[in-house]
């Protein structure tokens, strides 16, 4: 396999269960380098679990995950630490460290993870804080002093600060008003383009999908039921996708009522 041919991320047959709850039933997914893949699907369909499996926060029960053609399931802790340097992540709730100032949050991966000099890291952090549309004086505040939208911006700045090769977005627009959501979506596109990263996002916000996706995959019942370029989303011919993007209560996706 030549270097160019290996996809950035490749999942095959990923399975994960919690007791009797089979969350992932064989997920197959390919993300080409430099492209933005968005996974859509209802709540509780296994989107977050899949993301955590790739990040190594959860171990899949079966299947293979390859980054740049290299298997990462069952990696040793040292190799895993090394791999983490390729990753950046924007968490759903921001997950900012509330004991640290904003600039220390943004520079955290540089100072603690990569042992960069504090002065140098601060300069990069300030640059990133400005790049996501915040004023410089925000840098010395603490996360609790910021609004939800501002926290998301800081989370984005932190995710891209170390110029990772792959950036994960966990429901980037959840809990934001529609205007702020659009602002965040545009920032995501801008920042990911700038550093040339590969993006993998999970969301159920269709506005997000249309703004940030190159490719879309639909997950249902722990399996990918459709995948294709975002342009084909409206003519997918897939009844699951049709139901989801139009938000209809009737269709093949039925809510399991306990």
């Amino acid at each position: 396999m030549s270097k160019q041919a290996a996809p950035k991320i490749e999942l095959s047959g990923i399975k994960k269960s919690f007791g009797n709850n089979h969350v992932l039933n064989g997920v197959d997914l390919v993300v080409p380098e430099g492209k933005s893949m968005v996974i859509i699907g209802g709540s509780g369909t296994g989107k977050s679990v899949m993301l955590k499996c790739i990040l190594g926060l959860l171990d899949p029960d079966a299947g293979s995950i390859k980054i740049d053609g290299n298997e990462i399931v069952g990696l040793s802790p040292q190799d895993r630490d090394e791999l983490m340097r390729k990753f950046g992540m924007l968490f759903q709730g921001g997950a900012l460290f509330d004991s640290l100032k904003i600039w220390e949050n943004v520079a955290f991966g540089l100072i603690q993870g990569r042992s960069m000099d504090r002065v140098e890291a601060r300069e990069i952090a300030i640059k990133k804080i400005k790049a996501v549309g915040l004023r410089e004086d925000v840098a010395n505040l603490h996360p609790a002093e910021l609004s939800g939208g501002m926290q998301k911006r800081v989370g984005l700045a932190r995710a891209v600060a170390a110029s990772p090769e792959i950036i994960f977005f966990d429901e980037p627009t959840t809990g934001l008003d529609p205007i702020m959501a659009d602002v965040i979506n545009k920032l995501i596109v801008e920042q990911v383009r700038e550093i040339g990263a590969t993006g993998l996002s999970i969301t159920h916000d269709m506005g997000s999908v249309r703004t940030i996706a190159d490719y879309v995959a639909m997950i249902h019942d722990g399996k990918i039921v459709w995948t294709g370029p975002v342009e084909e989303l409206d003519n997918s011919g897939n009844e699951y996708v049709e139901q989801f993007i139009h938000g209809r209560a009737e269709g093949p996706i039925t809510r399991r009522v306990a």
Binding site: M84, F91, L96, F108
Partner: protein
């Protein structure tokens, strides 16, 4: 699991049901114990392997050690004072007032300073460790650490573990002095002892081993408090309720472990 449980119930056999219940409880106990020991092993391993985070360690030394001083000091002071009062009332019946100084210093250094300081620190420090780490777990801050190439065991757990294990002996040593001084104050100003003879009686009775054994206990208790706080916080359930439960479990389990290990260590040192 559910289907399995149903099968058992369908059998209507009380003996089998009992076996199932006992077996289930036993299995989950061993699973929990294994999980705890694995956690302790990882925590110790990461405490001794680089990278280290000196700034975090310094913060914890100040938080756990320095800010626990008032609590431990007050506890020791009043414990020493009440010991002098109580043992005096007892010993006057046998005209053995001269034993008061010895009772105070031995009780404080061997048992009361380490155990009471351990319990107070379990309440103050164990709870705050569990609540802080639990909240970080719930708000995904621990996952965020991992994605930023920082091992949460090294960054969060190791500094707390080292700080608590190192500072509690120092706290207890200060507590020893304050506790003896508390007994001294009551004996001199309240019970009419002469300062010179009280102090010489104290020095006659106390031996190095009395103090050292107390300090070793304190180190073990510090380790227990930080470990329980970290373990329960790290494995905290979701939401406010999860963090609340983690905090309660941290304080209760560390308090009980302190009492158990106090007995075991006393057995080792003085039998």
């Amino acid at each position: 699991m559910d289907a399995h449980t149903k099968d058992i119930e369908n059998l209507h056999n009380p003996v089998l049901k009992l076996c199932h219940g006992v077996g289930h409880a036993l299995l989950s106990f061993f699973q929990k114990a294994g999980q705890l020991f694995f956690f302790i092993g990882r925590a110790i391993y990461h405490s001794f392997t680089p990278p280290f985070f000196p700034a975090q360690l310094w913060r914890q030394l100040v938080d756990i050690g320095y800010y626990s001083l008032p609590v431990v000091g007050m506890t020791a002071l009043f414990t020493g004072m009440v010991l002098a009062l109580q043992s005096y009332t007892g010993f006057t019946r046998f005209n053995a007032e001269s034993a008061v100084a010895g009772v105070v210093v031995l009780s404080v250094t061997r048992e009361l300073a380490p155990v009471l300081a351990g319990l107070m620190v379990a309440g103050r420090v164990g709870a705050s460790i569990a609540a802080e780490i639990g909240t970080m777990r719930v708000t995904e801050q621990i996952d965020a650490l991992t994605t930023l190439s920082v091992n949460p065991f090294k960054y969060l757990i190791a500094p707390r573990l080292i700080a608590a294990t190192l500072t509690l002996p120092i706290l207890v040593f200060i507590g020893d002095i304050i506790g003896v001084y508390g007994g001294y104050i009551v004996s001199i100003y309240n019970l009419g002892f002469s300062p010179g003879s009280y102090l010489s009686q104290t020095w006659d009775v106390v031996e190095n081993m009395d103090v050292i054994s107390g300090l070793i206990k304190a180190g073990v208790f510090g380790f227990i408090v930080a470990m329980m706080g970290c373990y329960h916080g790290f494995n905290s359930g979701r939401g406010a309720q999860g963090v609340g439960a983690a905090t309660t479990n941290a304080v209760v389990s560390s308090s009980i472990l302190i009492l158990i290990f106090n007995y075991l260590l006393t057995q080792v040192f003085f039998s």
